[in-house]
Amino acid sequence: MKFLSTNKSLVIGLGLILFFCFIAIFAPLIAPYEYDQIDQNSIMQPPSLKHPFGTDLLGRDVFSRMLYGSRISLSVGIIAVGIATIIGVVVGAISGYYGGFLDWLISTFINIMLCFPVFFLILSVVALLEPNIFNIMVVIGLTSWMGQARLVRAEILSLKERDFILAAKALGASDGRIILLHLLPNAIGPVIVSAVLGIASAILVESGLSFLGIGIQPPIPSWGNILNEAKSSLGLAWWLSFFPGIAIFLTIIAFNLFAEGLKKYLK
């Protein structure tokens, strides 16, 4: 537990992340109103005791909407990165371990994927399919595994010639056993760090999509689509853009600090 006092970024990052997770899990208990509860008598109210973050164009409580919005951000971030990490680890491990033509094929495919401006690719797919939370998670996952794959490939390339792998081969271990039990556990550190960073960028992509109106569709609240509504009342309601913006900002900082702390801790 000594690292807790020496590794400030880990502690602050993890603390913030746990705070957001707490909010997301207990949103229905904390929220004073329903996220889609329309109140015609309190439209565009500035923050007050009754509505801590004010109300929007339809008189909905921004505080409650943001609590529910945290569920969208976190779940999109975590699941999209989960998908990306699984693909990245499998593809990278195969490419690094077997080498040869397979490696060339996979590396070329990765280079091709990296040519596409990711946001263009995501927008195209989301526009073709329906823009719902499930599609958004999957599409972000499918377009962001390349970094992980490169990382795993490089780690495995440098590990596979080491003596303990040769020893495992000499003992007759199968390829699958070598990859799963001997190579991956040794390569997992950087993968975790890059996954944590990936969550931050996935959250950013989701809020960007929702901000453009192509992401999570109202009345379901997400931080991005609250900001989208703020755009139309620019200059009239600062609270509509301030609170969701700060929430996204703090989440990005939290995951980056946590990743930085993890990097230090794993060393």
Binding site: T108, C115, F119, V125, G245, I252
Partner: protein, 325 residues
């Protein structure tokens, strides 16, 4: 040098096939025929346009034939005609491309200059107050979503203070201005978008420069330079800075897709008639040929950018050319 360029050019062939393949897969992702979705969701599409599209994609032919056709058309950059106004996609993209390119190039130049300066300051004043301040500032820029920053800045400078215009790239009576006023008008419209690009992207280069220069300072050849009695300034600018500047070329090549991606959000917010805004409009209108055209052209631009970065790198650092690729 020539063999290196040929090698890099040959390496682009599988990329080209891959880019067309992925865009081909994307277009066939839609449930049913792409034309069904288009016609269902876009009432503007006439029967004629639908027939044309069917012909363009060769949807009645076998898949392998469809892909070959798609690939050949891509080589000619022929993406058919836009649903919304019937004009060729390539013409529409050509109109929009210069604005996006110009803004991105200005942004990249500023990012490099400011990033390098901040990196040098960070290295010189390592762990002092100013170094920490720079670190915090560039990190804030990185973590701030561009669209949020845009809303805040618009609120302050365009609405509260009224100093800058809100939308577009030029005023209504732009054509009547003298050249000098035209320039001022353009600058007033573009200062916020460019600031947002630059502020958000400083972290990469400034952090890299700082780290790389600090590492170089500990290398033996710097010790030699010191032993020779060179001044700190000469060592810093002639030996350390030059060494760290080289890999920047590759870093820039890698940042290209991010900037192109970012143009969708920034150009939509500020109503800048560039490529990103065209993409956004096409997505909203489900204008299929335009979406596909932009997706492919975006990828081709990135590929070309990386190619040029590689060539430039090999020009400034001959070691690269002789390394086994």
């Amino acid at each position: 040098m020539l063999t290196y360029i040929t090698k890099r050019l040959l390496a682009m062939i599988p990329l080209l096939i891959g880019i067309s393949f992925i865009s081909f897969v994307v277009i066939h992702l839609a449930p049913g025929k792409p034309t069904d979705l288009v016609t269902n969701l876009n009432p503007k599409v006439s029967l004629e346009a639908r027939m044309n599209l069917n012909k363009l994609y060769g949807l009645d032919k076998p898949v392998t034939h469809q892909f070959r056709m798609w690939f050949m058309r891509m080589l000619k950059l022929d993406f058919g005609e836009s649903f919304s106004d019937g004009r060729p996609v390539l013409v529409k993209i050509k109109e929009r491309l210069p604005i996006t390119l110009a803004i991105n190039i200005i942004a990249i130049v500023l990012i490099v200059i400011i990033g390098v300066i901040l990196g040098v300051i960070g290295c010189v004043f390592q762990d002092k107050f100013i170094d920490k301040l720079i670190t915090i500032l560039v990190f804030i820029g990185f973590a701030m979503p561009s669209f949020w920053l845009a809303l805040i800045l618009m609120d302050i400078f365009c609405i509260k203070l009224g100093w800058l215009p809100v939308l577009g790239i030029s005023s209504v009576d732009f054509d009547n201005f003298t050249p000098l006023f035209k320039l001022i008008d353009l600058a007033k419209h573009l200062v916020l978008p460019i600031f947002i690009y630059v502020f958000g992207s400083l972290v990469g280069i400034s952090r890299y420069m700082r780290q790389s220069m600090i590492e170089t300072l500990n290398k033996p050849f710097i010790l030699t330079a010191r032993a020779k009695g060179l001044s700190n300034r000469t060592i810093l600018f002639k030996h350390v800075l030059r060494n760290s500047l080289l890999p920047l070329v590759t870093l820039l090549g890698l940042s290209l897709p991010g900037l192109i991606s970012g143009s969708v959000i920034i150009e939509s917010i500020f109503a800048i008639p560039g490529m990103g805004r065209l993409f956004f409009e096409a997505v909203m209108a489900r204008d299929y040929p335009v979406i596909m055209g932009l997706l492919v052209i975006g990828a081709l631009l990135t590929m070309l950018g990386n190619f040029l970065a590689d060539i430039a790198y090999s020009v400034v650092d001959p070691r690269i050319r002789y390394k086994k690729s």
